[in-house]
């Protein structure tokens, strides 16, 4: 499949983007928790055309043993894109970009996980991008923090992440693949709500101070929305079981 052609306009005269969104609108997000049987915790996210699966293992014995730390758990993180996740086949070998993203995602999660409760162990996070559509590092962080919580790993709170960018001179929320490629700037942000910490902040392109400030406000607002969705998705798994079980009881009483 050839590269998608550059669209003539990223924003039309009415201020609507190529996928029909307004500038301050997120793509539709679907979050699911606990979908892998063998992993200790797992999560799945669909954000626009992004499809990302995250599996968490641990805390478990550290292998190789020399990486273990005497006072806390080691958090290991691997971000990987499937060869079929993009238009042109991606070489399955770990790329420079994947290694960088693994590192920044790990760092954005490290500040919330209570690693000092499990000395000499590791917690492994595997982020597999099945289909990529821009902003996959943010979607990956959103899903990874959910998977960690699903594994029952003690953590301060969930991390929510979202990107903003600049297209045709306007700040726009949650860039899609085409907007990222043909836009002017991209600014991924990960945010920890209660502590009010930004744990990931990268920038690609050029923004003025005003644009940056406006973008950051937009991104943090979006993170707030995503954070609410994360909590809902996490609890839903247990509330569904509860409803089914208690309903069964009621019907049995009636019968």
């Amino acid at each position: 499949m050839p590269e998608p052609k550059q669209p003539e306009k990223l924003i039309d005269d009415k201020g609507i983007r190529i996928d029909g969104r307004r500038l301050d609108q997120l793509r539709p997000i679907k979050l699911e928790v606990g979908i892998l049987d063998k992993a200790d915790g797992s999560a799945y996210i669909e954000q626009g055309k992004n499809k990302i699966l995250v599996g968490v293992y641990g805390p478990r014995e550290a292998h190789p043993k020399h990486i273990a730390l005497p006072d806390r758990a080691v958090l290991r993180c691997r971000y990987r894109m499937a060869p079929f996740s993009v238009d042109e086949r991606k070489n399955p070998a770990p790329s420079r970009r994947e290694m960088e993203l693994s590192k920044v995602i790990r760092e954005s999660l490290e500040s919330v996980v209570l690693t000092d409760l499990y000395p000499r162990t590791t917690i492994d996070v595997f982020i597999e991008v099945l289909q990529s559509d821009g902003g996959s590092r943010c979607a990956g962080i959103t899903a990874a923090s959910l998977a960690l919580a699903d594994a029952g790993i003690p953590m301060r709170e969930l991390v929510a992440a979202c990107a903003v960018g600049k297209i045709q001179g306007h700040m726009a929320l949650d860039l899609s693949d085409a907007e990222d490629k043909y836009g002017e700037a991209d600014l991924p942000v990960a945010w920890v709500p209660n502590a009010n910490l930004v744990t990931l902040l990268q920038m690609d392109g050029i923004l003025t101070t005003n644009e940056f400030e406006k973008g950051l406000t937009m991104a943090l607002d979006a993170c707030k929305t995503i954070h609410g969705m994360q909590q809902e998705a996490l609890k839903k798994k247990y509330l569904v079981i509860k409803e089914v079980a208690e309903e069964r009881e009621e019907t049995e009483v009636v019968a």
């Binding site: 409760l117 919580a149 953590m155 209660n194 502590a195």
Partner: protein, 237 residues
């Protein structure tokens, strides 16, 4: 002293539980005067103490715990045991019953790789791997019955308040049940059918640990299976 979250409800990590001078129970932490949940679980208030009973999570060893484990290696002076914790447990030969002193025989005669053993955690802290013992009544190799492995987080629910759940299970299914704190549960029944029902009930507790009226629902499930519990108990006694 304000309780913010609804008691007995599911809370997510980072959810505000309470504000003020509450005692911190498990899986909660304090920032300033605010107390937050550290994991996904059920919020419980007991007097001034706030706790989150986790819905998921692995086993973390504590001294004195009864654990079921699988032998993974036989050494010269002891065994390595997988107790489903993040650490490898050691069972030294000196912690097995029998005469003390140097023994020349091969340790695999007592326990071999793959054997299940019921043991107790003798020593463990943050700096040292757990040390086990099989000295004590009921401890040692498990050679019959059925072994059920469930999440260690669900063990408190399987035991129930003052042992209400587990004693009901034993009574109604007529099985002898030993619960390891690491999520390994051993079941011995008078017939395979009794064992099957007990195992099914244990899985049901694991799945529906956070629901109301669970004890009654499980009692009903066992009653429907036509397994006779009381007779088995008198026979065993």
């Amino acid at each position: 002293m304000v309780i913010v979250a609804e008691p007995k409800q599911v809370v997510a990590p980072g959810e505000l539980l309470a504000e003020g001078d509450h005692l911190l129970g498990d899986n909660s932490f304090k920032v300033g005067t605010r107390i937050y949940s550290a994991c996904i679980g059920i919020f419980e208030v007991d007097g001034t103490r706030v706790t989150v009973v986790p819905l998921k999570g692995g086993y973390f060893p504590r001294v004195g715990d009864l654990v079921g484990g699988r032998i993974v290696d036989v050494g010269l002076s002891g065994w390595t045991v997988d107790i489903r914790a993040p650490y490898e447990a050691m069972l030294p030969a000196s912690e097995t019953p029998g005469p003390r002193g140097p023994r020349r025989r091969d340790l695999s005669e007592s326990f071999d790789v793959g054997d299940m053993v019921l043991s107790q955690v003798l020593a463990f802290d943050r700096t040292r791997d757990p040390l086990l013992t099989v000295k004590g009544p009921g401890l040692g190799k498990i050679s019959n019955g059925r072994v059920v492995e469930i999440s260690a987080a669900k063990i408190p629910r399987l035991i129930g308040r003052k042992g209400s759940m587990i004693s009901m299970l034993k009574r109604e299914t007529g099985c002898q049940i030993t619960v390891g704190q690491n999520g390994v549960v051993m079941v011995w029944g008078k017939s395979p059918e009794n064992e099957r029902v007990a195992v099914e009930a244990i899985y049901m507790v694991e799945r529906e640990a956070h629901t109301r009226g669970l004890t009654d629902r499980i009692r009903e499930m066992i009653a429907k299976s036509n397994v006779v519990g009381e007779v088995a108990r008198t026979q065993a006694a």
